[in-house]
């Protein structure tokens, strides 16, 4: 009965107050109004969806526009030049790019194995009643704002490293040929190594929670079959869980890498802001984000500002690629599991 359907629409609209009583006197008018509202809402949501795309487009366009001056002046030489001289307005991105990559690598080398180990503990070993609390605790670590890591790194962690780990490393590798240059120089506390370690603590929860999620998605039947054959827990993880979830795990690692590359405040506090490429891991350095955070508000002159925005554009391009690959891989594993 179509009429019954129609009637209830209007009644409902009346009850909900969406219509004025006077307007309801004419049902066709009321229905027209509902139809219009429906179309309007649909277009509104569609516009909001497009707004997300426009936002991304806006970021790219504004960064390119802002960095155009530096881009046309320095060209691709910007990428490989180590100079950073605000007085002569001669800028190059080599030192920040190098610092960004080295600190992120240190972070990943430490955080990936530990993150996977924790994920394995949480999915295979941990007693059931502890899984949720430990999982939440690790995720809380991810929720702590980066500035907290920064202030903690500056006042607690850097002095600690200066007194313990750094002298130890210098003493240990001081006479080893190649490694000695990695740990050359006095222990300042702050520097590339400290920044890398702080980043490791920061990305650890991301890698852990994504690995745990994909580990949990492995069909129990597969694991049970392996256990049934007499595999040990480690053998099950090594030969069943990891191969099955490889794509997802790599996606999680890339997501963590994306975070590490773009992280600003935690690094800015402890990196030392020195524009030079140094082989030593304990020497002060800089990263793209730390350079922008430290210098942008004090930058004088269009070329200086434009060079800093160009640094931002480079950072955005690098993280965009890393994050796009991460999302693609996570999408692949979701499709397989779902």
């Amino acid at each position: 009965m179509p009429t019954a359907g129609r009637r209830s629409v209007v009644d409902l609209a009346l009850q909900s107050g969406a219509l004025q009583a006077s307007e309801a006197s004419s049902r066709s008018k009321a229905l027209e109004r509902l139809r219009l509202g429906d179309t309007a809402f649909r277009h509104l949501t569609r516009a909001a969806a497009y707004a997300v795309l426009i936002l991304m487009g806006g970021i790219i366009v504004s960064l390119v526009a802002g960095s155009w001056l530096a881009l046309s002046n320095f060209g691709f030489g910007f990428l490989v030049s180590e100079r950073w001289n605000p007085v002569t307005e001669n800028f190059g991105a080599m030192a920040p790019i190098y610092g960004t990559i080295v600190t992120s690598l240190i972070a990943m080398v430490i955080a990936v194995p530990i993150g996977l180990m924790i994920a394995m503990f949480l999915t295979e070993l941990c007693p059931q009643f502890l899984r949720r609390p430990i999982g939440i605790a690790i995720e809380l670590l991810a929720g702590i704002p980066s500035i907290i890591y920064g202030i903690w790194g500056l006042f607690i962690f850097a002095p600690f490293l200066q007194d313990t780990l750094q002298p130890f490393l210098i003493g240990l590798f001081g006479n080893v040929p190649v490694l000695s240059s990695l740990f050359a120089g006095p222990p300042y506390g702050i520097g590339v190594l400290t920044a890398g370690l702080i980043l490791a603590i920061m990305v650890l929860p991301f890698i852990t929670s994504i690995s745990r999620d994909v580990f949990e998605a492995v069909p129990p039947v597969l694991k049970e079959a392996a256990y049934g054959l007499g595999c040990t827990t480690w053998e099950v993880v090594r030969n069943v869980v990891l191969p099955y979830t490889r794509v997802g795990v790599i996606g999680g690692i890339m997501l963590g890498l994306g975070r590490a590359l773009g992280e600003t405040m935690a690094v800015t506090f402890v990196i030392g802001n020195a524009h030079k490429v140094s082989a030593s891991l304990i020497a002060p350095g800089t990263t793209i984000s730390a350079t922008i955070a430290n210098e942008f508000t004090e930058a004088v002159g269009d070329m200086y500002t434009s060079s800093l925005i160009l640094l931002g554009l480079i950072l955005f391009v690098i993280t965009f690629i890393v994050l796009a690959v991460a999302r693609y891989m996570l999408m692949r594993i979701e499709r397989r599991i779902g």
Binding site: R6, V52, S62, A137, I147, F155, G262, T264, T297, R327
Partner: protein
């Protein structure tokens, strides 16, 4: 179980025990950082925590004072960012889950949104500087709020889409069968069913932006004094912490620790509330 512990079997068991031991150690290591960081924060932050912190302005070096203006600034910026970002995020998520679930547009928006979700926040600061601060000619609270809103949007889009997708189709069909227009079905049925999850999303977004510093550095900048003018620079807690922590003055550093404690506690309370909300929904 008459299994002979052959050397090979013993070696496999040993390897297993070692790896499991390492995984336990890794977990303790991970949790250790949380304890360490929270411990230092409590220790350093509590010693400076007093009523003055919430009633007085930020002091000049060497004088005593509080964090009233940055706390208010942060509240205002966060509130505005949520007011601007949440509607856009919810509407976009609605389109993706309700209208265009199988459209190409939805998968493109989802992909781009996921990248925005983890894009470096300092780049968002540069973006807002380019589109708002530079054309206006001065730093402003509005610019800071919009920069934070840009961070809110992807978080809300993601949770809204996820939560609306979980709403059973039978509810939608029931609504449609009594002739409810689609927009009213979404607003009165789907939103209501997904409410807890959507609130979680907003809470997570607030937790995310309440500690964000990088996008505020060159948008809302900082302000030593009370400011109710959003067209002028506004102080915010994270930026004040940044400035005070890097200063050589002991009083400022102590205030920075106290501010850090306040932010962390806020964020932890928000994320635990969010988790409790979404946990409840899962059980019911």
């Amino acid at each position: 179980m008459a299994m002979n512990p052959t050397p090979r079997y013993a070696a496999r068991r040993r390897k297993n025990a070692i790896t499991l031991g390492l995984s336990l150690a890794a977990t303790l290591f991970g949790l250790g950082w949380l304890v360490l960081i929270l411990g230092t924060l409590l220790y350093e932050g509590f010693s400076g925590l007093s009523l003055r912190v919430f009633t007085e302005m930020t002091p000049p070096p060497g004088a005593s004072g509080g964090l009233l203006n940055p706390i208010m600034g942060s509240l205002v910026l966060t509130g505005l960012a949520v007011l601007i970002g949440t509607p856009i995020g919810i509407l976009a998520g609605t389109y993706m889950a309700e209208y265009g679930r199988h459209e190409r547009l939805t998968s493109v928006v989802r992909f781009i949104n996921d990248i925005l979700l983890s894009a470096p926040s300092i780049v968002i600061g540069l973006f807002i500087y380019e589109v708002m601060v530079y054309p206006m000619g001065h730093f402003s609270g509005w610019a800071g709020a919009v920069a934070l809103a840009v961070i809110v949007i992807p978080v809300v889009v993601r949770t809204t889409e996820d939560m609306l997708t979980l709403v059973p189709d039978t509810l939608r069909e029931a609504a449609a069968s009594i002739g409810l227009p689609r927009s009213l079905m979404i607003i009165r049925i789907a939103y209501r069913a997904a409410k807890a999850g959507m609130i979680t999303g907003v809470l997570l977004a607030v937790a995310r932006i309440s500690g964000e510093t990088a996008p505020l550095l060159f948008t809302s900048l900082n302000n030593q004094f009370w400011s109710s003018n959003l067209n002028a620079p506004v102080a915010s807690l994270p930026v004040v912490i940044f400035q005070f922590a890097l200063s050589p003055y002991k009083d400022w550093q102590a205030l920075a620790w106290t501010g850090a404690l306040i932010i962390t506690m806020t964020v932890l309370v928000l994320s635990i509330t969010a988790r409790a909300l979404s946990g409840q929904r899962k059980q019911s």
